[in-house]
């Protein structure tokens, strides 16, 4: 599904170059569930945006579904985001003026899906996250967990093969957070590749594999089941040992 080779991403912050990602090599198979961990500023969000084709690497190559992203035009990238990738954000990013159903419908409007089909798919997506009866509520009439479920329905409504989530439970209480993780895992079980950025070890522990980033470098690779056993998880092993 994903192959990264020597990915570097540097940007300027106050005139100073910041090396957000340095020589990242990684492969993610179809249907995997991968968690990316790391302290703040480690580059984990940058990596996810890069994977989501919202950003481009300065060097290195990124193959997504056997296509090299660097070779794609802006229009083709938009097309990839539309059909191949779904996003879930920490702060939901729902449009406050639109109802839950309209928010879910949004990607299909711009993808020019016929109106009648849109309605059916919105209903199906909302049912899948257990919000079939909340379609006509606006975001401010929904709880945080419900909002994130609407956002998840929106992410899935175009049927993406890759689901990217940035701190999906970061703004939620434990119960709502667990519901969201259950839904994400359910989608993963059905074959959607799932990549979650988090600094919450309990979220990461549910992944097949965990990658730990520090200062733009991958410092650890471990299985999700090992997260609980690993002390000083967010440090490079040699630093942690010393």
């Amino acid at each position: 599904m994903i192959r990264l080779e020597k990915i570097c991403r540097t940007y300027l912050l106050g005139g100073q170059p910041v090396h957000a990602l340095v020589d990242i090599d990684e492969t993610v198979e179809n249907g995997e569930h991968v968690a990316i961990m790391g302290p703040s500023g480690s580059g984990k969000s940058t990596l996810l945006y890069l994977l989501g084709c919202l950003d481009r690497p300065d060097s290195g190559s990124y193959w997504l579904a056997d296509r090299e992203v660097a070779r794609l035009s802006d229009v083709e990238l938009t097309d990839v985001r539309r059909n191949l990738i779904g996003f879930v954000f920490q702060s939901f990013h729902l449009v406050p003026r639109l109802t839950a159903a309209d928010n879910v419908e949004l990607p299909m409007v711009f993808a020019e899906v016929p109106r009648g089909e849109r309605r059916d798919r919105v209903n199906a997506a909302l049912s899948a996250v257990g919000l079939a009866d909340r379609g006509d509520h606006r975001p401010d009439q929904l709880s945080g967990g419900e909002r994130q479920r609407v956002a998840l329905a929106r992410a899935m409504v175009m049927g993406p093969r890759l689901l990217l989530a940035v701190e999906p439970t970061g703004n939620l209480d434990t119960t709502s957070g667990r519901q969201i993780l259950d839904l994400l895992e359910h989608l993963n079980d059905q074959g959607t590749t799932l990549i979650v950025v988090t600094h919450d070890p309990s979220v990461a522990a549910r992944a097949d594999r965990v990658i730990v980033l520090v200062d733009g470098h991958i410092v650890r690779r471990l299985a999700g089941t090992d997260v609980a056993k690993t002390p000083n998880l967010l440090m490079a092993p040699e630093v942690a040992a010393s």
């Binding site: 919202l54 229009v75 097309d79 985001r81 539309r82 949004l106 990607p107 711009f110 175009m158």
Partner: protein, 372 residues
């Protein structure tokens, strides 16, 4: 935007109203008229006062009627000012000397009594026809017809009173006294006519008759020392002047539309910066740059179009109000102004919406998502 469109509509309606008003005024005199005025002015249009080598005499007027078959009626005109008195009441009014044909040539209507008698043009009987206001002022309680009034040192019998007519081309036809042309010439000691109005059979003959009249005067005076105006030339000139004026005023109002465009740009810039996160989200769910551009341009177009329609309504109301206040002015916005102002509003909105929309479309999705 609404104010701009309203201004265009209202101002052009005013201009158009003025144009139609003037044309109506001329039409009320009759469109198949030739006006002969003494003196040769090189430019035609507004009747100029030019020193003529010869007077236009009553004989000239009679000859026109006799020699040119298409000349249906002639009304020679002599104008002066004199006081008209009845008993102790006295009123200074314009006195017009003319003939019986004047009634038809100027499309006048009698209130009661008779107009000036049909008689030899050279013979000036001491009779007078009063305008309705003048009659009311001199004879508040009495029937004026048959009474005698003094005009200057002359005693004249009132034969009739005109029906109220109002202003016509700067002449208040209600406050006027009409006397036979020969009488007026004696009264004011004139040998020359102020002008001759010739009513022509059918509008088509206007041009040929104009040439014939000119030729006649060259023959009689040995030089071209009169100016012959056709009614439509005068109307066309006025219509053109007022048309240009309407356009100019409309253009000035259109400037306010462009200013409104700046307002649209401001609103849109604020809208874009407030919704940066939404733009980021749209880009993340696979909305292209062009689609984002279209979204914001559509919004600008809706904004300006809505404002334009609002202005159209406001302008229409303003015009209605004007017509209520001044019923004489047939103010109505020209069709071109309605479409031009709406089109301009939309165009300006889209033009000024372009910059904010492009800014939205060019946002970096990652930064847009992270913005607060």
């Amino acid at each position: 935007m609404a104010i701009g469109v309203a201004a265009v509509i209202t101002l052009t309606a005013l201009g158009e109203g003025a144009r139609i008003y003037v044309i109506d005024q001329f039409a009320s005199i009759g469109t198949n008229l030739l006006i002969v005025i003494p003196g040769k002015s090189e430019t035609t249009g507004i009747p100029g006062v030019a020193a003529g080598a010869h007077d236009i005499t009553l004989q000239d007027a009679e000859t026109i009627l006799r020699v040119i078959p298409e000349a249906e009626k002639i009304a020679p005109l002599v104008v002066g000012t004199e006081s008209v008195a009845h008993g102790a009441r006295r009123r200074q009014v314009p006195i017009a000397g003319t003939t019986r044909d004047f009634l038809e040539v100027r499309r006048l209507v009698m209130g009661h009594g008779d107009f000036l008698p049909a008689e030899d043009i050279q013979r000036g009987r001491p009779v007078v026809v009063l305008g309705s206001k003048l009659a009311r002022e001199l004879f508040p309680a009495e029937e004026p017809v048959g009474q005698v009034v003094r005009i200057g040192g002359w005693r004249m019998r009132v034969t009739g009173v005109l029906a109220p007519r109002g202003q016509q081309l700067g002449m208040d036809l209600d406050d006027i006294a009409l006397v036979p042309v020969a009488t007026a010439m004696r009264m004011f000691d004139r040998r020359s006519l102020f002008r001759i109005m010739v009513q022509v059979r059918g509008t088509a003959a206007l041009g040929p008759v104009k040439d014939k009249v000119l030729k006649l005067f060259i023959q009689r005076h040995r030089e071209e020392d009169v100016t012959v105006l056709t009614q439509d030339a005068v109307v066309a000139t006025f219509s053109q002047i007022l048309g240009v004026l309407t356009l100019a005023v409309g253009a000035i109002a259109a400037i306010s539309l462009s200013v409104a465009g700046i307002g649209i740009m401001n609103v849109m810039l604020v809208s874009v910066s407030e919704r940066t996160r939404e733009v980021g989200l749209l880009r993340a769910v696979g909305v292209g740059r062009r689609q984002v551009l279209t979204v914001f341009l559509t919004e600008a177009a809706l904004l300006s179009g809505g404002g334009g329609l609002l202005g159209l309504g406001a302008g229409w109301l303003a015009v209605r109000l004007m017509v209520q206040l001044y019923p004489a002015l047939p103010a109505s916005p020209p069709v071109w102004a309605v479409f031009a102002s709406l089109g301009l509003a939309l165009g300006v909105g889209i033009l000024f919406g372009l910059l904010p929309a492009r800014r939205a479309a060019r946002l970096d999705p990652v930064l847009a998502l992270a913005s607060r």
